[in-house]
């Protein structure tokens, strides 16, 4: 089995159709995207015993935070292992971690021990998220050197789409397994663990890497590389000595902080900004719309970046983001729900676009040699943002309400702070320049470069 998982056994034969690779990547990303839908377990998990001994929403919220933290940590720690071992081994391991995370969590629910649930879904599942997230990235960029943004955007779009599948699936499963004495959480976790294992294995067993030096038929690399697109290679450890790594870390962190804070509070926010005009069901529709834009934005913006350049794409994210965040309180004051919804839909498309465009940006800066590993280390920015974003929105809102500000107005300052964060992101992106030649890998063989 170990040899079957080796990178050497995944090299595609001549004439292999490269469009067989994106579905393999999508199978993994559609599975691990379930993380965004973990909140569907929240309410049932507060009623497991039907007594005051049940877990609180705050305690269960730990699941998502620990999972996202371990996503970043595992991607950073194992990025090089993923890069060296190839996508099949990484996808296989990710499937084992992610599905066994569900199994361990189901056991934790059964014995009603929160730490086991967190250990299962949060730690083990989180490692599955990290490994699964980065596993197909560099492979896709090697298959699509002509359209790296589109290729990675397609896979990372799957992460956004995964939540759209998992939310109704987990609700339906819990409804099916629910009895007078059980919420159906254990059975649902076991079934989802098994389903995702099979689905991710389809990805692991079909993924292939191109042979060294492979190029799409008829495609020749541009004789004069575009500005800010390197033809050199940078080692992952050396990349961390380059200023550009930290600027891009800031770019990702600030873009995600601004988006994730809103995403986590979207439902109460629209209801409180338009009191009496938006029902809870309509607020659910608003959240659904944001999820759709989050998903579509990943493919749209990453593909667009192939034409307009990565730096320009982020310039649009940050500049337009600042304008939209500054305009949102006004849409509330004039009572325009359509403008409010439209503003946040565009913001969330750029949130998704930020995730999807960053691998190609890293490839432009540091080459393809260790791009997966560098991407893994950069994902720690997501972990930080995953904690900082919701905290900022919740804390600032509560602080204002405690000081007598009306609920409808309590988001105004938050929006201005988000705009300020995006302005800092704009500055980080503005200062991104080509990586100094002293960081380039000296003995890069042509095969490694491909």
């Amino acid at each position: 089995m170990s040899s079957f998982l080796d990178k050497s056994h995944t090299i595609a034969p001549p004439g292999y159709n490269r469009f067989l690779v994106p579905p393999a990547a999508l199978a993994v990303h559609l599975s691990i995207g379930q993380a965004y839908a973990i909140s569907t377990f929240n309410l049932p998990m507060t009623k497991l015993l039907g007594t005051t001994e049940d877990w609180s929403l705050l305690q269960i919220g730990l699941l998502f935070q620990v999972a996202i933290a371990f996503l970043g940590i595992s991607a950073a720690v194992f990025g090089r292992w993923v890069e060296e071992g190839g996508p099949r081994r990484a996808m296989f391991t990710a499937a084992l971690c992610f599905s066994s995370g569900f199994m361990v969590s189901a056991f934790g629910v059964w014995v009603h021990q929160l730490w086991i649930v967190v250990l299962g879904y949060g730690v083990l599942g989180g490692c599955g998220l990290g490994l699964g997230y980065i596993s197909p990235v560099s492979t896709l960029m090697k298959w699509f050197p002509d359209r790296p943004g589109m290729a990675t955007g397609m896979a990372i779009m799957g992460f956004g789409g995964g939540a759209l599948i998992a939310a109704p699936l987990s609700v339906a499963l819990m409804a099916y397994f629910k009895t007078a004495t059980s919420q159906g959480v254990i059975e649902t976790m076991l079934v989802m663990g098994a389903l995702y294992f099979v689905y991710m294995m389809i990805g692991a067993f079909t993924v292939k890497v191109p042979e060294p030096g492979w190029r799409p038929a008829g495609w020749v690399p541009p004789a004069v590389p575009k500005k800010l697109v390197t033809s050199a290679q940078v080692d992952v450890n050396e990349a961390m000595r380059a200023r550009q790594f930290y600027l891009l870390w800031g770019v990702l962190c600030l873009n995600v902080t601004a988006g994730i804070g809103v995403l986590s509070q979207a439902s109460p926010m629209i209801q409180e900004m338009f009191p009496g005009r938006v029902t809870a069901a309509a607020a659910g529709g608003f959240v659904g719309l944001l999820s759709l834009f989050n998903m579509v934005g990943r493919f749209f913006w990453a593909s667009t970046s192939d034409y307009i350049g990565r730096r320009n794409t982020y310039m649009i994210f940050f500049a337009l983001g600042v304008v939209l965040y500054l305009a949102v309180p006004t849409t509330g004051q004039i009572g325009s729900i359509p403008l409010f919804v439209l503003g946040f839909a565009i913001i969330l498309s750029m949130y998704g676009g930020g995730f999807a465009t960053i691998p190609a940006y890293l490839r432009d800066m540091f080459g393809t040699m260790h791009v997966g590993a560098i991407h893994g280390r950069l994902l720690t920015a997501w972990s930080v943002a995953g904690v900082a974003g919701p905290f900022l929105v919740n804390y600032i809102r509560q602080y204002q309400i405690d000081h007598g500000v009306a609920k409808a107005d309590a988001y105004t300052i938050t929006m201005y702070i988000m705009a300020a964060l995006l302005a800092v992101g704009f500055a980080c992106n503005y200062f991104v320049t080509a990586v100094n030649a002293r960081h380039h890998f000296r003995n890069a063989a042509p095969s490694a470069a491909e």
């Binding site: 067989l20 579905p23 759209l164 599948i165 529709g285 959240v287 719309l289 759709l292």
Partner: protein, 32 residues
Amino acid sequence: MTPKMIALWLIVGIPLAFGIEQTLEKVATLFY
């Protein structure tokens, strides 16, 4: 388009289409 290609794209496309359809049903509540 080989059978393998069609099968693989259907395997990822059908669940995604299901998810999008379910989400669009929720989104519709915004307009009523």
